[in-house]
Symmetry: C2
Subunit: 331 residues, 2 copies
């Protein structure tokens, strides 16, 4: 077995978020489904951006947020995702490397621009996203570095890239390498509409290739085409060794074989922006797995990390996260 060089390696989209507060009316005008991620092209992204007010830019990307948070918590991490040699590409690379993550592939010198996600935060702190995937959607099997994947204890895949066939092939390739090296493979379902678009292939990979599944309630219900949460839980328990299902203010349920562990959400002083809640839950949970904690502690770490990120704007909060885990006594 290859020596373990990293605790977790993520594969996903390299994205910079453009974050703006909006009223609900803007979502209607732009034809966006509240709370969801809508894919747009460059022209569509520019058009929506033009309708937004004052914004700020901050590195994002669902899988990248998880890896950046794990890096901040002291885990050895790496990330694979495609960016261009443009300003947004430089910002993305700078911020993920600043957390200690290995991010070694050179920037693409051709192709579309670096991905950007318009994150629109409504007064209720819910986020609605319009993503221009750009060059990040060109991720393919050739971008999967065998040695790094084989050397990482857990491979973490971001469901959002499921809309891109080549990326799906990259995920399959990465999963093969990881399993051949005796590693665990984790997947985040990312978005209920994304699950709906690709239910069959998600079902197939979840049943055959995934050891640890992250999903929120609506994603899980969509995956198993049921409206009954308990039925969905029973179904996922048969498919994967471990499932961590988040339920917003109701916390999370960790499922493993016959075990069902309910983890409460932590109190929120000021709910600012739910962007990154799922990403940070996954980071906290994987931090527990990587440090050999029991499942209940992994779940508590997930809820604690999610609690931090929903009290800031955007999905990156390395300093606040480190401080929170220190207070919890987890360092």
């Amino acid at each position: 077995m290859t020596q373990q060089t990293h605790d977790v390696i993520g594969v996903g989209a390299a994205i910079v978020d453009i974050i703006a507060r909006v009223d609900d009316g803007v979502l209607d005008e732009q034809g966006l489904s509240k709370g969801a991620m809508t894919l747009v092209d460059e022209a569509g992204s520019s058009a929506i951006y033009g309708a937004l007010g004052d914004a700020l830019e901050r590195s994002g990307g669902s899988g990248a947020n998880t890896i950046a948070a794990l890096g901040a918590l002291g885990r050895k991490v790496a990330f694979i995702g495609k960016r261009r040699d443009d300003e947004f590409g430089k910002i993305f690379a700078h911020d993920i490397r600043a957390t200690g993550a290995a991010f070694d592939a050179p920037a693409a010198t051709t192709g579309e621009a670096t991905a950007r996600c318009l994150v629109m935060v409504t007064p209720d702190a819910e986020r609605t996203m319009a993503t221009y995937l750009g060059v990040s959607g060109d991720l393919g099997p050739d971008d999967i570095d065998t040695e790094t994947i084989a050397g990482a204890g857990i491979l973490y895949l971001e469901g959002y890239l499921w809309d891109k066939p080549a990326a799906k092939d990259a995920f399959r390739r990465a999963s093969e390498i990881a399993h051949q090296a005796g590693r665990k493979v984790a997947l985040s379902l990312s978005d209920a509409f994304c699950v709906d678009r690709h239910r069959d292939s998600f079902r197939e990979i979840v049943a055959n290739d995934i050891d640890i599944l992250f999903a929120n309630e609506s994603e899980l219900l969509s995956l198993y085409e049921t409206e009954d949460f308990d039925d969905a839980i029973e179904a996922v328990a048969k498919d994967v060794a471990i499932a961590a299902v988040t339920r917003g203010p109701d916390g999370a349920v960790i499922v493993s074989g016959d075990e069902r562990i309910a983890v409460p959400a932590q109190d929120v002083a000021t709910l600012v922006d739910t962007t990154g809640a799922g990403d940070l839950f996954a980071a906290g949970f994987l931090n527990g797995m990587a440090t050999g904690q029991p499942l209940a502690t992994c779940g508590a770490m997930g809820c604690s990390a999610a609690n931090v990120v929903i009290q800031i704007l955007g999905a990156r909060c390395p300093d606040a996260l480190k401080a929170k885990f220190a207070i919890e006594g987890w360092t």
Copy 2:
């Protein structure tokens, strides 16, 4: 006299801020003077950026921050500053236009990149800046739009651009146009080191061309080469019709002829980042002038606007500013 089309027009640098929290040691390692603005070239900017942790990007530029805030407060404003046709240029243009400001010149298609300012915030909430002026330093007399300048009640000039001879010529040209149209000309001294580098020409323009001067205490002392605050106040009273001198937690002193109006600073719940304090003071003060308030109210509006911006990260806070002025009963 030309009809007034705008309340205030700003001329300055079109900059995007890259904001990171740092420990004081980073400033020493990078040879940066705490609290000051150091000019760097593109390579220097990249080297310092590489030494910083997780960052976020937000539109900035001292004069532009003032204009953006005035726009948020409902004043009719315009801005003149040079940016390239790159991502940072798009971000700058988007955010200033989102406040309602006219920003009409097309992006430059040649020359250096859009300006960026590395804003390093230390644990004491003080900000230290390393600015790569890029194409914004190429501002020259040809960029000064006669009609727009002549149609603005107040012309507001940003001292930071004093390091660039062509920009100085642009300022002189803009001042001439404004005065010929019977308008007021305001200048912000921006930085004590900048004043020190260009004392003679600052003294000359302040004495001959400026009606309203904005300075903090150290800039004013540097301008008049004195260590005695009262001496500096007497000197500035002879040079300009109105001077607004900020003193950090001690508020501000408004000077006009024989009048000396002390305005207290407002209480701060959580001091986050002093970036933009001077810019927002100027915005509040000019908001008062543009709406015909007495000097004491102009000063109070300045202190109130500064109070808002030092409780957020970065220098743009349109929503919080609007809310604060509504609470003060100033809308």
